[in-house]
Assembly symmetry: C2
Homo-oligomer: 132 residues x 2
Amino acid sequence: MISTRGRYALRVMIDLAEQEPGRYTPLKDVAERQRISKKYTEAIMAGLSKAGLVDAAHGKGGGYRLNRPAEEYSVGEILRITEGDLAPVACLEHGASPCAYAENCRTLPVWDKLNLMVNEYLDSITLASLAE
Amino acid sequence: MISTRGRYALRVMIDLAEQEPGRYTPLKDVAERQRISKKYTEAIMAGLSKAGLVDAAHGKGGGYRLNRPAEEYSVGEILRITEGDLAPVACLEHGASPCAYAENCRTLPVWDKLNLMVNEYLDSITLASLAE
DNA sequence: CCATTTGCCTACCATGTCAATAGGTTGTTT
DNA sequence: AAACAACCTATTGACATGGTAGGCAAATGG
Protein backbone atom coordinates (compact mmCIF):
# COMPACT_ATOMS: atom_id res chain seq x y z
CA MET A 1 0.00 0.00 0.00
CA ILE A 2 2.66 2.48 0.98
CA SER A 3 5.93 1.79 -0.78
CA THR A 4 9.48 2.57 0.16
CA ARG A 5 9.32 5.64 -2.01
CA GLY A 6 6.50 7.15 0.03
CA ARG A 7 8.07 6.29 3.35
CA TYR A 8 11.37 7.78 2.25
CA ALA A 9 9.63 10.91 1.05
CA LEU A 10 8.09 11.37 4.46
CA ARG A 11 11.43 10.92 6.19
CA VAL A 12 13.03 13.39 3.82
CA MET A 13 10.35 15.96 4.54
CA ILE A 14 10.73 15.46 8.28
CA ASP A 15 14.46 15.92 7.91
CA LEU A 16 13.95 19.20 6.08
CA ALA A 17 11.47 20.30 8.73
CA GLU A 18 14.17 19.81 11.34
CA GLN A 19 16.64 22.11 9.61
CA GLU A 20 16.86 25.82 10.19
CA PRO A 21 13.81 27.30 8.46
CA GLY A 22 14.48 29.24 5.28
CA ARG A 23 17.96 27.83 4.80
CA TYR A 24 18.75 25.53 1.93
CA THR A 25 19.92 22.02 2.77
CA PRO A 26 21.88 20.05 0.17
CA LEU A 27 20.32 16.78 -0.85
CA LYS A 28 23.58 15.03 -0.03
CA ASP A 29 23.21 15.88 3.66
CA VAL A 30 19.64 14.68 3.84
CA ALA A 31 20.50 11.44 2.09
CA GLU A 32 23.37 10.76 4.46
CA ARG A 33 21.38 11.48 7.59
CA GLN A 34 18.50 9.34 6.41
CA ARG A 35 20.77 6.59 5.10
CA ILE A 36 19.14 6.66 1.69
CA SER A 37 21.28 6.53 -1.43
CA LYS A 38 21.92 9.92 -2.96
CA LYS A 39 20.59 8.85 -6.34
CA TYR A 40 17.36 7.47 -4.99
CA THR A 41 16.85 10.53 -2.85
CA GLU A 42 17.23 12.59 -6.00
CA ALA A 43 14.39 10.75 -7.67
CA ILE A 44 12.14 11.27 -4.69
CA MET A 45 13.07 14.90 -4.24
CA ALA A 46 12.36 15.62 -7.88
CA GLY A 47 8.74 14.70 -7.32
CA LEU A 48 8.41 16.79 -4.21
CA SER A 49 9.96 19.74 -6.00
CA LYS A 50 7.80 19.46 -9.09
CA ALA A 51 4.70 19.35 -6.90
CA GLY A 52 5.78 22.53 -5.19
CA LEU A 53 6.22 21.04 -1.74
CA VAL A 54 9.83 22.14 -1.58
CA ASP A 55 11.90 24.90 -3.06
CA ALA A 56 15.23 24.17 -4.77
CA ALA A 57 18.35 26.26 -5.34
CA HIS A 58 21.22 25.32 -7.65
CA GLY A 59 24.90 25.88 -7.02
CA LYS A 60 27.03 26.38 -3.97
CA GLY A 61 25.02 27.02 -0.85
CA GLY A 62 22.01 25.62 -2.62
CA GLY A 63 19.80 22.66 -1.85
CA TYR A 64 16.20 22.23 -0.76
CA ARG A 65 13.94 23.80 1.82
CA LEU A 66 10.29 23.63 2.78
CA ASN A 67 7.96 25.98 1.02
CA ARG A 68 5.67 26.54 3.98
CA PRO A 69 5.76 26.12 7.75
CA ALA A 70 5.86 22.47 8.78
CA GLU A 71 2.43 22.73 10.41
CA GLU A 72 0.87 23.26 7.01
CA TYR A 73 1.92 19.92 5.54
CA SER A 74 -0.05 16.77 6.20
CA VAL A 75 1.30 13.26 5.89
CA GLY A 76 -1.57 12.49 3.54
CA GLU A 77 -0.58 15.26 1.17
CA ILE A 78 3.04 14.13 1.01
CA LEU A 79 2.11 10.52 0.44
CA ARG A 80 -0.53 11.22 -2.18
CA ILE A 81 2.01 13.21 -4.16
CA THR A 82 4.76 10.61 -4.07
CA GLU A 83 2.59 7.51 -4.26
CA GLY A 84 0.11 8.91 -6.73
CA ASP A 85 -2.83 7.58 -4.79
CA LEU A 86 -3.66 6.03 -1.44
CA ALA A 87 -6.72 4.13 -2.61
CA PRO A 88 -6.80 0.63 -1.11
CA VAL A 89 -8.32 -0.92 -4.21
CA ALA A 90 -7.86 -0.34 -7.92
CA CYS A 91 -11.49 0.54 -8.61
CA LEU A 92 -11.23 3.62 -6.40
CA GLU A 93 -8.01 4.95 -7.86
CA HIS A 94 -8.04 8.37 -9.37
CA GLY A 95 -8.83 7.99 -13.05
CA ALA A 96 -9.85 4.35 -12.82
CA SER A 97 -12.33 3.13 -15.38
CA PRO A 98 -15.61 2.87 -13.47
CA CYS A 99 -16.64 -0.68 -12.68
CA ALA A 100 -19.66 -1.76 -14.69
CA TYR A 101 -21.17 -3.52 -11.68
CA ALA A 102 -20.53 -0.82 -9.12
CA GLU A 103 -24.25 -0.18 -8.76
CA ASN A 104 -24.92 -3.45 -7.04
CA CYS A 105 -21.45 -4.31 -5.79
CA ARG A 106 -21.66 -5.71 -2.29
CA THR A 107 -18.06 -4.88 -1.51
CA LEU A 108 -17.72 -1.33 -2.81
CA PRO A 109 -19.05 0.33 0.38
CA VAL A 110 -16.37 -1.48 2.37
CA TRP A 111 -13.55 -0.12 0.20
CA ASP A 112 -15.15 3.26 0.06
CA LYS A 113 -15.22 3.68 3.80
CA LEU A 114 -11.76 2.21 4.20
CA ASN A 115 -10.45 4.69 1.68
CA LEU A 116 -12.08 7.55 3.55
CA MET A 117 -10.73 6.40 6.91
CA VAL A 118 -7.18 6.06 5.71
CA ASN A 119 -7.12 9.42 4.02
CA GLU A 120 -8.72 11.22 6.93
CA TYR A 121 -6.28 9.74 9.38
CA LEU A 122 -3.21 10.59 7.32
CA ASP A 123 -4.52 14.07 6.63
CA SER A 124 -4.88 14.67 10.34
CA ILE A 125 -1.16 14.32 11.02
CA THR A 126 1.00 17.35 10.38
CA LEU A 127 4.63 17.26 9.42
CA ALA A 128 5.40 19.46 12.41
CA SER A 129 4.02 16.88 14.81
CA LEU A 130 6.56 14.35 13.55
CA ALA A 131 9.61 16.59 13.50
CA GLU A 132 12.06 17.56 16.25
CA MET B 1 -2.85 -2.64 -0.85
CA ILE B 2 -5.74 -4.97 -1.56
CA SER B 3 -5.28 -6.81 -4.83
CA THR B 4 -7.77 -8.32 -7.22
CA ARG B 5 -7.19 -11.67 -5.58
CA GLY B 6 -8.40 -10.43 -2.22
CA ARG B 7 -11.39 -8.61 -3.63
CA TYR B 8 -12.41 -11.64 -5.63
CA ALA B 9 -12.04 -13.86 -2.57
CA LEU B 10 -14.44 -11.64 -0.68
CA ARG B 11 -16.98 -11.72 -3.50
CA VAL B 12 -16.69 -15.48 -3.68
CA MET B 13 -17.31 -15.80 0.04
CA ILE B 14 -20.32 -13.51 -0.16
CA ASP B 15 -21.66 -15.60 -3.01
CA LEU B 16 -21.34 -18.76 -0.94
CA ALA B 17 -23.00 -17.04 1.99
CA GLU B 18 -25.98 -16.34 -0.22
CA GLN B 19 -26.51 -19.98 -1.16
CA GLU B 20 -28.61 -22.42 0.79
CA PRO B 21 -26.61 -23.17 3.96
CA GLY B 22 -25.06 -26.64 4.18
CA ARG B 23 -25.47 -27.35 0.49
CA TYR B 24 -22.44 -27.64 -1.80
CA THR B 25 -22.15 -25.14 -4.62
CA PRO B 26 -19.95 -26.00 -7.62
CA LEU B 27 -17.13 -23.56 -8.26
CA LYS B 28 -18.35 -23.21 -11.83
CA ASP B 29 -21.58 -21.59 -10.67
CA VAL B 30 -19.84 -19.15 -8.37
CA ALA B 31 -17.37 -18.16 -11.09
CA GLU B 32 -20.16 -17.54 -13.57
CA ARG B 33 -22.25 -15.47 -11.20
CA GLN B 34 -19.25 -13.40 -10.16
CA ARG B 35 -17.92 -13.12 -13.69
CA ILE B 36 -14.49 -14.41 -12.69
CA SER B 37 -12.70 -16.96 -14.88
CA LYS B 38 -13.11 -20.49 -13.65
CA LYS B 39 -9.39 -21.07 -13.51
CA TYR B 40 -8.66 -17.98 -11.49
CA THR B 41 -11.50 -18.77 -9.13
CA GLU B 42 -9.92 -22.17 -8.61
CA ALA B 43 -6.66 -20.62 -7.50
CA ILE B 44 -8.45 -18.36 -5.04
CA MET B 45 -10.72 -21.09 -3.72
CA ALA B 46 -7.75 -23.36 -3.13
CA GLY B 47 -6.40 -20.89 -0.60
CA LEU B 48 -9.72 -20.51 1.17
CA SER B 49 -10.09 -24.26 1.35
CA LYS B 50 -6.59 -24.92 2.65
CA ALA B 51 -7.13 -22.33 5.36
CA GLY B 52 -10.29 -24.09 6.42
CA LEU B 53 -12.67 -21.25 5.59
CA VAL B 54 -14.68 -23.45 3.27
CA ASP B 55 -15.41 -27.11 2.95
CA ALA B 56 -15.01 -28.93 -0.34
CA ALA B 57 -16.61 -32.06 -1.78
CA HIS B 58 -15.43 -33.86 -4.90
CA GLY B 59 -17.55 -35.43 -7.57
CA LYS B 60 -21.09 -35.01 -8.77
CA GLY B 61 -23.18 -32.92 -6.43
CA GLY B 62 -20.00 -31.61 -4.89
CA GLY B 63 -18.59 -28.12 -4.65
CA TYR B 64 -17.90 -25.71 -1.82
CA ARG B 65 -19.77 -24.46 1.21
CA LEU B 66 -19.05 -22.27 4.20
CA ASN B 67 -17.66 -23.98 7.23
CA ARG B 68 -19.45 -21.78 9.75
CA PRO B 69 -22.40 -19.39 9.85
CA ALA B 70 -21.75 -16.23 7.84
CA GLU B 71 -21.88 -14.11 10.97
CA GLU B 72 -18.68 -15.72 12.17
CA TYR B 73 -16.49 -14.60 9.29
CA SER B 74 -14.95 -11.16 9.22
CA VAL B 75 -13.76 -9.36 6.12
CA GLY B 76 -10.38 -8.94 7.79
CA GLU B 77 -9.97 -12.67 8.26
CA ILE B 78 -10.78 -13.45 4.66
CA LEU B 79 -8.44 -10.80 3.34
CA ARG B 80 -5.55 -11.67 5.61
CA ILE B 81 -5.76 -15.26 4.43
CA THR B 82 -5.80 -14.48 0.73
CA GLU B 83 -3.51 -11.46 0.77
CA GLY B 84 -1.12 -12.82 3.34
CA ASP B 85 -0.99 -9.55 5.22
CA LEU B 86 -2.78 -6.23 5.40
CA ALA B 87 0.16 -4.24 6.75
CA PRO B 88 0.40 -0.85 5.04
CA VAL B 89 4.21 -0.84 5.09
CA ALA B 90 6.84 -3.52 4.63
CA CYS B 91 8.45 -3.02 8.03
CA LEU B 92 5.24 -4.11 9.78
CA GLU B 93 4.64 -7.21 7.72
CA HIS B 94 4.47 -10.51 9.48
CA GLY B 95 7.97 -11.95 9.56
CA ALA B 96 9.69 -8.79 8.38
CA SER B 97 13.25 -8.30 9.48
CA PRO B 98 13.07 -5.69 12.21
CA CYS B 99 14.28 -2.26 11.17
CA ALA B 100 17.56 -1.36 12.82
CA TYR B 101 16.42 2.21 13.38
CA ALA B 102 12.94 1.44 14.65
CA GLU B 103 13.83 2.74 18.11
CA ASN B 104 14.01 6.33 16.99
CA CYS B 105 12.00 6.18 13.80
CA ARG B 106 9.77 9.23 13.53
CA THR B 107 7.40 7.57 11.13
CA LEU B 108 6.86 4.17 12.70
CA PRO B 109 4.06 5.31 15.07
CA VAL B 110 2.13 6.58 12.06
CA TRP B 111 2.27 3.24 10.28
CA ASP B 112 1.60 1.38 13.47
CA LYS B 113 -1.62 3.19 14.17
CA LEU B 114 -2.69 3.03 10.54
CA ASN B 115 -2.15 -0.70 10.59
CA LEU B 116 -4.25 -1.03 13.71
CA MET B 117 -7.06 1.11 12.33
CA VAL B 118 -7.30 -0.78 9.06
CA ASN B 119 -7.33 -4.19 10.71
CA GLU B 120 -9.84 -3.18 13.35
CA TYR B 121 -12.19 -1.77 10.76
CA LEU B 122 -12.05 -4.79 8.49
CA ASP B 123 -12.42 -7.14 11.43
CA SER B 124 -15.58 -5.34 12.47
CA ILE B 125 -17.45 -6.24 9.28
CA THR B 126 -19.03 -9.67 9.12
CA LEU B 127 -19.62 -11.65 5.99
CA ALA B 128 -23.30 -11.86 6.92
CA SER B 129 -23.66 -8.09 6.85
CA LEU B 130 -22.55 -8.04 3.22
CA ALA B 131 -24.64 -10.94 1.97
CA GLU B 132 -28.27 -11.19 0.84
C1' DC C 1 -17.80 -50.79 -13.59
C1' DC C 2 -17.54 -46.68 -16.25
C1' DA C 3 -18.42 -42.03 -17.55
C1' DT C 4 -19.12 -37.71 -15.73
C1' DT C 5 -18.57 -34.30 -12.55
C1' DT C 6 -15.89 -31.72 -9.59
C1' DG C 7 -11.94 -30.39 -6.83
C1' DC C 8 -6.76 -30.28 -6.78
C1' DC C 9 -1.97 -29.66 -8.24
C1' DT C 10 2.02 -28.00 -10.87
C1' DA C 11 3.82 -25.35 -14.03
C1' DC C 12 3.95 -21.52 -16.97
C1' DC C 13 3.70 -16.77 -19.06
C1' DA C 14 3.15 -11.91 -19.93
C1' DT C 15 2.96 -7.57 -17.97
C1' DG C 16 4.03 -4.17 -14.82
C1' DT C 17 5.89 -1.99 -10.77
C1' DC C 18 9.52 -1.14 -7.55
C1' DA C 19 14.01 -0.08 -5.87
C1' DA C 20 18.04 1.38 -7.19
C1' DT C 21 21.96 2.85 -10.25
C1' DA C 22 24.54 5.31 -13.99
C1' DG C 23 25.92 9.11 -16.56
C1' DG C 24 25.53 13.27 -18.23
C1' DT C 25 23.53 18.31 -18.45
C1' DT C 26 22.16 22.66 -16.71
C1' DG C 27 22.32 26.25 -13.63
C1' DT C 28 24.74 29.18 -9.48
C1' DT C 29 28.01 30.77 -6.64
C1' DT C 30 32.46 32.21 -5.27
C1' DA D 1 37.01 28.81 -14.29
C1' DA D 2 36.19 25.52 -10.67
C1' DA D 3 33.32 23.62 -7.56
C1' DC D 4 28.88 22.56 -6.30
C1' DA D 5 24.28 21.12 -6.57
C1' DA D 6 19.96 20.31 -8.82
C1' DC D 7 17.90 18.06 -12.94
C1' DC D 8 16.94 14.71 -16.69
C1' DT D 9 16.81 10.24 -19.20
C1' DA D 10 17.84 5.49 -19.38
C1' DT D 11 18.56 1.14 -17.64
C1' DT D 12 18.69 -2.81 -14.66
C1' DG D 13 17.24 -6.85 -11.80
C1' DA D 14 13.97 -8.65 -8.89
C1' DC D 15 9.56 -9.59 -7.73
C1' DA D 16 4.38 -9.60 -7.62
C1' DT D 17 0.33 -9.86 -10.11
C1' DG D 18 -3.30 -11.60 -13.06
C1' DG D 19 -4.32 -15.14 -15.65
C1' DT D 20 -3.92 -19.68 -18.44
C1' DA D 21 -3.03 -24.79 -19.50
C1' DG D 22 -3.16 -29.51 -18.76
C1' DG D 23 -3.56 -33.28 -16.31
C1' DC D 24 -4.53 -36.00 -11.90
C1' DA D 25 -7.52 -37.63 -7.98
C1' DA D 26 -11.74 -38.47 -5.88
C1' DA D 27 -16.66 -39.09 -5.64
C1' DT D 28 -21.13 -39.97 -7.63
C1' DG D 29 -24.93 -41.76 -10.62
C1' DG D 30 -26.45 -45.07 -13.53
